[in-house]
């Protein structure tokens, strides 16, 4: 399954457009990481705990989108976009969407 944020896969032709597919996850880190992040607010720098959280969320959301595309018979997803939003303190929602297509 090829995934791209271009309108086409370079060097391939699009045979059929299948439609919008999307994947989303909502995840929270446990309180230990929350407390560490609170402390980090004093000194600044990368919040490793939250970075990891969002990495995992992104991977999972991608997987869901790809699974949905595969189920519809697609073998590529184009024009992929990400969107992150916070749903609660310490919890983030990650949303990926793109157009599922069949390429030759």
């Amino acid at each position: 399954m090829e995934v791209s944020n271009l309108e086409s896969i370079p060097g391939k032709n699009i045979v059929e457009y299948i439609g919008l597919v999307s994947g989303s996850t909502v995840r929270a880190k446990h309180i230990g990481r929350d407390i560490m992040a609170g402390l980090k607010n004093l000194v600044g720098g990368e919040l490793k705990g939250y970075s990891e959280l969002l990495q995992e969320s992104r991977n999972e959301a991608m997987e869901r989108m790809v699974a949905q595309a595969r189920e519809l018979g697609a073998n590529a997803v184009l024009n992929v976009r990400f969107s992150t939003s916070s749903v609660a303190q310490g919890a983030a929602e990650l949303y990926v969407y793109g157009t599922a297509v069949r390429i030759d």
Partner: protein
């Protein structure tokens, strides 16, 4: 090249297939278990710290946290006119009882407060409050001695410190874990109240036995001391068993009797009538 629109699939990838009710139950039980573990370990730690406090350190702490004599509005510095004679008796009796315990180097205040229930309170700052009705209803000096001894027990065991410390610690934990506006934290603190009540019943029982000890040392027997609780027992029902801070009076009588038997303290003897004492409260026998 064609464009077709996906037909909505039956299986939704974006929603996990879990049973939410099961999840709630599992989470609540595990959090409960963790909190109980935290609670018991912190109580254990707290109690050992409090018990090791020296009296001077405790006095310093109470000055910061509890109400000191200077701030307590019920106690005035000026000389009281027309002190109720039974109150005088109570004060002298208290001083006499003090001599038999390790609290003898502290000075306590006894104050009467108006009210219609038979009750007495020990409040931080070495003060004992007696409700008017109690003074009306006690029939012998022995009874009064039992009540005063019980209240002294709270100071001896430092119940105030333990209680305050416990509230502080659990409030802190609850804030850390849940935040201060989560309904779960309210649930948790409410549940604490309930367990506190059970624990308070144990504390009250300890005070009963402490008071019994003092009464025996003064009079040589426990007669009259139990009459007080027997009178209270007539009014109690099932609400008191679970929701009151004191154990059921019947149980208190039983526990004191058993304790007395273990120590070979006689349960009968001559009662000293509650006669007004002559002289001022600072007289010692």
């Amino acid at each position: 090249m064609s464009i077709r629109q996906v037909n909505p699939e039956e299986h939704n990838h974006n929603v996990s297939d879990v049973n939410h009710v099961k999840e709630v139950i599992i989470l609540v039980l595990s959090i409960f278990a963790i909190l109980i573990a935290l609670y018991w370990s912190s109580i254990f730690a707290l109690d050992s710290i409090v018990e090791r406090l020296s009296p001077e350190r405790e006095a310093q702490l109470m000055k910061y946290i509890g109400s000191s004599k200077k701030l307590n509005p019920l106690i005035s510095d000026k000389k009281e006119e027309n002190v109720e004679p039974r109150l005088l008796t109570a004060r002298q009796l208290l001083n006499e009882l003090l001599q038999f315990s390790d609290l003898k180097n502290r000075s306590f205040e006894v104050v009467v407060i108006p009210g219609k229930d038979i009750n007495a309170f020990a409040i931080p700052g070495d003060t004992i409050l007696l409700v008017e009705e109690l003074l009306d209803k006690v029939e012998s000096e022995n009874e009064l001695a039992m009540v005063l001894g019980h209240e002294l027990g709270h100071f001896h065991y430092r119940h105030h410190l333990k209680g305050m410390g416990r509230r502080l610690v659990m409030g802190f934990f609850s804030m850390m874990i849940f935040g201060d506006d989560n309904p779960i934290s309210k649930l948790f603190l409410g549940g604490l109240d309930y367990t506190d009540r059970q624990f308070n019943q144990a504390q009250e029982s300890d005070c009963d036995l402490f008071g019994a000890g003092l009464v025996f040392k003064k009079y040589g027997h426990l007669a009259g001391g139990l009459v007080f609780f027997e009178r209270l027992a007539e009014k109690e029902g099932i609400m008191e068993k679970y929701f009151s801070t004191h154990p059921l009076s019947v149980e208190r009588v039983d526990r004191i009797s058993i304790y007395a038997q273990e120590n070979n303290w006689p349960l009968t003897g001559e009662l000293t009538p509650l006669a007004p004492r002559k002289g001022s409260a600072s007289d010692s026998p």
